[in-house]
Symmetry: C2
Subunit: 360 residues, 2 copies
Amino acid sequence: MKRVVNFSAGPATLPLEVLQQVQAELLDWQGSGMSVMEMSHRGKEFMSIAAAAEADLREVAGIPANYKVLFLQGGATGQFSFIPMNLLRGKTGVDFVLTGDWGKKAAKEAARHATVNVAATSADAKFTQVPDRASWKLDPNAAYVHVTSNETIHGVEFAADPDTGAVPLVADMSSNILSRPFDVSKYGLIYAGAQKNIGPAGLTIVVVRDDLIGQAAPLTPGIFDYQQMADSESMLNTPPCFAWYVSGLVFKWIKANGGLAGVGERNAAKAKLLYDYIDSQDFYRNPVAKADRSRMNVPFTLANAELDAEFLKGAKAADLDGLKGHRSVGGMRASIYNAMPIEGVQQLVDYMKEFARTRA
Amino acid sequence: MKRVVNFSAGPATLPLEVLQQVQAELLDWQGSGMSVMEMSHRGKEFMSIAAAAEADLREVAGIPANYKVLFLQGGATGQFSFIPMNLLRGKTGVDFVLTGDWGKKAAKEAARHATVNVAATSADAKFTQVPDRASWKLDPNAAYVHVTSNETIHGVEFAADPDTGAVPLVADMSSNILSRPFDVSKYGLIYAGAQKNIGPAGLTIVVVRDDLIGQAAPLTPGIFDYQQMADSESMLNTPPCFAWYVSGLVFKWIKANGGLAGVGERNAAKAKLLYDYIDSQDFYRNPVAKADRSRMNVPFTLANAELDAEFLKGAKAADLDGLKGHRSVGGMRASIYNAMPIEGVQQLVDYMKEFARTRA
């Protein structure tokens, strides 16, 4: 069996122990005589899997009792539409703080449903920083303030949970959820596609404060009406059962590995290893303001872009995969989510050093 | 390893050979060093998986070139909303032919977007038949005519592809797609949740004639706008990659097992075995008109409903699982989709005979 070091931005590497358990019980889940893929979602076996996953997520993330946890489909991009459809609650305006392309996409979709006020943006700085909190021009009548807690493409991350006072804070946490301790109570709604730190693509987690739901726009599809989905425990129709199950195993893996405190320490160490090397020389460069650098996605460029293809080819030959940067920013990007061990980052740094030594 | 005979209505039993292949390559897909769950959806490995699945589905189902095949999320229930959002094309009315609860649900959701005309219904007959074609009161100005080709709960199936002339025919084929040869060109749109005859829950297939798309309602979310999804080859955002991959293996399994002709023959033989036994005695009963009986879902009742619990307990003890009928109709239901071997149906009939012999 071959395993590469997978730096893909998502879908992304999963914990090996989780994959091994999935493999072991793929034909017969715990003596049930069925694969999880074959189980009725209304049967006691899958109901127990679903309930355990929610309980473990609540425990790991410290989700207060007045928040609903929804297991949905359609990805974060789907939520770009369904969040305004659910959360406008009679209001007409929403605030956006833009730190990259994903926030821009979310704002564009929201603009079809509401008046979008760009309260702050770092577009002028090519999205290499988070706008200083003091500069945000928030509207006290906005239905909510939207942030992208980690911009996967630009590698820009909020270092701490922002404070938006009485206006509910909505965060797209697709690429940094569960990567460190965070305070759910600071948020009105948190959403994330599963395919970075949670599990397989096809599952979308929404965590929403219960006083914000129940006023969906009239044409909101039932399966994306947060109140209806909360009332049916995310089973208004057949959910993405297998992705839910694998995600539950990932939550257990986090619990068994020190919870978010442990995960956060390891992620900080991994990011430090890579950024410290990048900052120590001139062959590679990361453009993001140090305080706002992502611990999940590390974009970097070679001083001589003509060497990009050779860099990637050599990396691939060394089983370092998925390092090509997003087409909109070019260069390289190393995504180092929870399941990436520090040994993988060390292998990358070693390769980068050797490549620089022989090509500089 | 234990394997039960799984009569669940969906998620449902999958071909053992498919599950074995999934298991074998779960940690390392064909030497890539990655699980399919870990692959970038934009990488060449997953792109090849996705393209092969579409090509095999097109071949198996004989899908003409002027039809788009979309790999979506949200289940058939999601499509109850997204079909009117995409297919009204300036029209205001839609026709429904109702043969059970799923059609009723689809009509209820459509009524939020359009005027629903019930062109025919077998509600008065408690949904035990398909209304005679001559009785349908179709509106020539309707945007489309909607049918549920197989009603999973009531066990009622259209024996042949209906003809609706110039008005596009839309069919929810969730529970009988790919179960026999069918003529795609008779339909404007076919949709199906994957979790019966295709693959794991979390994937929804839409097959749509290309002249019907491109006029979605203004607030249609991008990931459910058929034109946008066709243009992006169903990758406007991250698709449900793993479900897509498993479904592709199921399409290959159909090809290797005689295509839809072979599948259809085996399904007919399985259904005949069970219905012939039911019709040969008085202990069990199926209420559906013989010409309209489903070859996929066989509901049946015991003459003495007080024996239901004992019947189910004994079945479970004999590793015959998932036989409890839907709560809305009671009794039993045996779902005998493509992946159910005839030996499984024989085991059920044997059990039914023995139970009747000892309890009658």
